[in-house]
């Protein structure tokens, strides 16, 4: 084996929910090319194809747009631009997370239009869309659209955007400051005074792109009989179908969203302008409309927020933290989109997993002329964890303390208050730290003297460094009630109906496991449906680590209710009262009699051979419209890395990496391991390579040629994942959310290990050889 490990504690004899040898059932189709994503779906008769005109400027007034030549091109069936809105109000609805930010008294105004109306505010903003009989005609038509822009000065830096002299993106707002948020407890001024030493440091993280392999925004939209059906990718079909219906001022039940398998998500896929454009064009042309976005267009749909994190940390001489004062500037790009969520997430994670009696967090979220940023795997938490874990390491070192000892002194222990309104700490960091370090043959302690620099004329071996970091994230948050339905047919097969798409985590497999376990049926008898909002089972979405707990519990509940329903029917048809019946081994028992599920379903006889028994299930997370509303557990991890740096070239080679997470209960080992490893791979990408570059008024690197994604060669062979099981989570069988516990760990681990190796502190990701060489004073 390549060095992968799982450890189940306290003992491996614990109940295994799903044997590792039992593969995820969706894999067979995936390895044979049978799985269908949006572009693969058979096209309805008469499908037209849409091409899009995107703004070539980061900031420009749209002086005029004339699509008359495009309209006249034979084969063109519909046009969308600001002159062709057919009375539709073009403003998209800003996502409704405002309850998370206490400074907001109401929803933020809708500020993003479907197509550019007065000004284009980011490179790639949708200006027009054309549907035609074939794609080449559509593309040709787009070329025939006459557009005149007046380029304006763009601003790409969030701090500069807040300056009085900056170009303003939204004149009606009069400022680029979109919103502010804050949190505090104790008295941070006093805390800093009580400190023996105060350190002020700044860390930054740039905008990035999720880059799922299946491009963002692909869809097939069809209007028929005043109803719409759209096939597309999203993590939350209900949220999005409601938004699309509202946009077209339609009855919500007339907007049907069907979601096939998704080729990667990471937060990127929800309602896009492209989907709304497809619906618009379909309604106008009375033809189904298909959009297949290019990678360049995909890059221009969404982004990860940029962040500048400045903190003052106060420490006593014994290494106890007394105060932390954090100010963040968050770059949300041209429109509101994910600003509230990201700001909120950053505020509630800005102090890490440490015990700090006096804390003040302030955040300002600013508009810049960049692609609007939204949900991105560990939204906001990737950025704050990078900052906090580097800060802690740096403060420890400056205090002359070993970073691991410093962490142990200040970290939150099981049962301790994390913050008012949130659950207490429910994991053991000490145990995780020890295991993470041991997994890379280390005791966690660092030499206080970095290996040292060397001048370039002498041959020098690479400098080695190690680091240990901790991460904390809310386990899952909010979302309202989640629903699922279980039905059993005369053959005894149980189908689980739900609206949780599967972007790759193995959601359907998870549902199947939970159903099988709850019903005590073999997996082969469980059928998992695909999301379809026509089957009205609301669920807020496969994101924020919530699916295992919320949907998982809803499925469990539905299956338990199904068992109850089977008992009820058995009583009606076969007699007895419910207490006399029990369910075991996929049968119902009363005294010596037993019946299969299929028999009981068949005994209804109302629908002939198609008799089906159904039961609904639901689950509500803890309520609370506050900063920590709905939070019921913590997602925690510890990670260790060993790397070496070539001191002449600055090139980094990762030698070993380990990650320990408190998973509660593993429902499917390979899926859990896959999420941890996959998150870490993306973490390596963010740590070492990724940023979207804006320069000379343009987004320069919106393609995989120039946006560097991690490849297999960037990942160390020695990569250990350790999953702890204490069965104490709120999810089914004691599980916890953990899919975002690895992505946040990598960057600070690498940054701190570089300090360990070379004594230099890199304060921005991505950590590049050039930055290392500059810090070493090489040029």
């Amino acid at each position: 084996m390549l060095g992968h490990e799982s450890m189940a504690t306290p003992a491996d004899t614990r109940n295994i929910i799903s044997p590792t040898a039992e593969p995820r059932f969706d894999l067979r189709d995936k390895v044979t090319g049978q799985t269908r994503y949006v572009e693969d779906l058979p096209e309805p008769a008469g499908t037209a194809y849409a091409a899009m005109l995107l703004s070539p400027y980061s900031h420009a007034r749209l002086l005029s747009i004339d699509s008359s030549k495009a309209e006249k091109l034979p084969g063109v069936v519909a046009i969308l631009d600001r002159e062709h809105l057919d009375g539709l109000s073009p403003m998209l609805h800003t996502p409704r997370y405002e309850y998370m930010v206490k400074t907001l008294s109401g929803p933020l105004p809708n500020d993003q239009p479907l197509v550019v109306i007065d000004k284009g505010r980011f490179h790639g903003e949708l200006v027009a869309a054309v549907a035609a009989d074939d794609l080449r005609t559509a593309q040709k038509a787009v070329e025939l659209i006459d557009v005149n822009y007046e380029p304006l000065e763009p601003v790409f830096d969030a701090a500069a955007a807040l300056d009085a002299s900056a170009p303003i993106l939204h004149e009606s707002k009069g400022t680029n400051l979109l919103l502010e948020d804050e949190m505090e407890w104790g008295n941070v001024e006093r805390g800093l005074r009580e400190a023996a030493r105060v350190f002020e440091e700044t860390y930054t993280s740039p905008s990035m792109f999720h880059h799922p392999m299946e491009n963002v925004g692909g869809c097939v939209a069809q209007f028929l009989n005043d109803e719409a059906v759209i096939w597309g990718a999203t993590d939350a079909p209900f949220r999005d179908s409601d938004e699309m219906a509202d946009f077209f001022q339609m009855d919500r039940e007339r907007m049907r969203f069907r979601v096939p398998y998704i080729g990667g998500h990471f937060g990127a896929k929800n309602v896009t302008n492209y989907m709304l454009a497809a619906l618009f064009l379909s309604r106008k042309s009375r033809r189904p409309v298909k959009i297949v976005p290019t990678t360049e267009a995909s890059f221009r749909t969404t982004a990860r927020h940029g962040m500048i994190y400045t903190a003052k940390a106060g420490v006593r001489s014994d290494g106890t933290l007394t105060a932390l004062d954090v100010d963040m500037i968050i770059d949300t790009g041209a429109y509101t989109t994910g600003a509230v969520l990201a700001t909120h997430n950053m505020v509630i994670s800005a102090w890490g997993c440490y015990r700090i009696p006096n804390v003040r967090i302030t955040a300002r979220c600013a508009h810049t002329n960049k692609v609007p940023a939204s949900h991105t795997r560990a939204t906001g938490k990737f950025q704050t964890t990078w900052a906090v874990e580097c800060l802690i390491d740096s403060v420890a070192r400056k205090m002359g303390m070993d970073p691991t000892d410093f962490r142990k002194k200040n970290l939150l222990r099981r049962g301790e208050l994390v913050v008012q309104g949130a659950p207490p700490m429910d994991a053991d960091y000490l145990e995780m730290m020890d295991k993470a370090a041991a997994a890379i043959d280390w005791d966690g302690h660092s030499s206080m003297e970095p290996q040292g620099r060397s001048d370039s004329s002498s041959p020098s071996p690479p400098a080695k460094g190690r680091a240990l970091v901790l991460t904390l994230r809310n386990g899952n948050q909010g979302g309202g009630r989640a629903y699922a339905m279980a039905s059993v047919d005369v053959r005894g097969n149980v189908k689980i109906h739900h609206n949780a798409p599967d972007p790759g985590q193995g959601i359907y497999n998870l549902i199947s496991i939970i159903a099988a376990k709850t019903l005590e049926l073999p997996r082969s008898q469980i059928i998992v449906g695909e999301p379809d909002t026509a089957v009205s089972l609301p669920f807020s979405g496969v994101n924020a680590q919530r699916t295992t707990i919320q949907l998982g519990n809803a499925v469990k509940n539905a299956c338990e209710n199904l068992k109850q329903e089977l008992v009820n029917v058995a009583c009606e048809i076969k007699g007895g009262n419910p207490s006399e019946w029990r369910v075991a081994d996929a049968r119902l028992w009363r005294a010596e009699q037993s019946f299969s599920f299929g028999d009981v379903a068949a005994s209804i006889k109302t629908l002939g051979d198609n008799s089906v028994l159904k039961a609904m299930g639901s689950y509500s997370p803890p309520s609370g419209r506050s900063a920590f509303g709905g939070l019921d557990h913590w997602a925690t991890s510890a990670a260790a890395v060993e790397l070496e740096v070539d001191v002449e070239t600055g090139e980094i080679k990762i030698l070993q990496f380990s990650l320990v997470t408190d998973a509660g209960k593993i429902l499917h080992f390979n899926s859990a391991k896959g999420q941890i490893e996959g998150g870490a791979v993306m973490g390596f990408g963010h740590a070492l390579f990724e940023e979207t570059v804006y320069q000379d008024g343009q987004l320069l690197n919106a393609d995989p040629f120039q946006y560097r994604l991690p490849t297999m060669q960037d990942i160390p062979e020695l990569f250990r994942t350790i999953l702890l099981e204490n069965e104490d989570g709120p999810g089914p069988f004691g599980s916890k959310g953990m899919s975002q516990t690895s992505i946040t760990a990598v960057a600070p681990a690498v940054g701190n290990a570089i300090y360990d190796a070379l004594g230099i502190r890199i304060r921005s990701v991505p950590i590049t050889p050039e930055k290392i060489l500059k810090a070493l004073g090489k040029f």
């Binding site: 390895v31 090319g33 194809y49 074939d134 080729g263 791979v681």
Partner: protein, 169 residues
């Protein structure tokens, strides 16, 4: 279904014969049609995916005469009288290739979108080098991007498949 390539606008077509997954296909293709569109739209083999369309990501990898090619940027007519193998052609008569079995066992795929490309590239590797080391695997596959980050599982799958091929010989 609307033909994505309008035949009227095409300037030249070629009469070609291609062996796709062992089955001959004869017909006309426009000069400018790329192999990816040929496979997906004409043959309805949708297992090969479109992603970057710039030869970087590997999602469109197919084998032409056993060699991996970016089908997004390879003109279909060039495959005339050549054999093309796609993901759909790997299993033989319901029996999966050891690579496919290993991928299933190790969860070498999560969202699955890059998987066809990964497996075809891996197949070409094992045809070229039956006992690759981890380093050789990662070098050969450095042009097949997996954003879900399944690299450790993919590498493990290839090592196991190589072992399985050896046992079968």
């Amino acid at each position: 279904m609307a033909e994505p390539l309008a035949p009227i606008a095409t300037l030249q077509s070629f009469a070609i014969e291609i062996i796709v997954n062992g089955t001959p296909w004869k017909g006309n293709v426009p000069a400018e049609e790329v192999l990816l569109d040929f496979l997906r739209y004409r043959l309805k083999l949708t297992g090969t995916k479109r992603s970057c369309e710039s030869e970087v990501c590997g999602a469109c990898t197919v084998l032409v005469e056993g060699k991996p090619i970016s089908s997004c940027s390879y003109l279909a007519f060039e495959a005339n009288e050549k054999s093309v193998t796609t993901i759909e052609g790997l299993a033989s008569g319901g029996e999966l290739d050891p690579l496919q079995e290993a991928f299933i066992r190790n969860l070498g795929a999560q969202c699955g979108f890059c998987t066809s490309g990964q497996i075809m590239a891996a197949k070409a590797l094992l045809l070229n080098n039956p006992a690759p080391s981890y380093e050789q695997i990662s070098e050969w596959l450095n042009g097949n991007i997996c954003r879900c980050g399944c690299y450790p599982a993919i590498a493990q799958s290839i090592l196991e498949a190589a072992e399985e091929y050896k046992n079968r010989r």
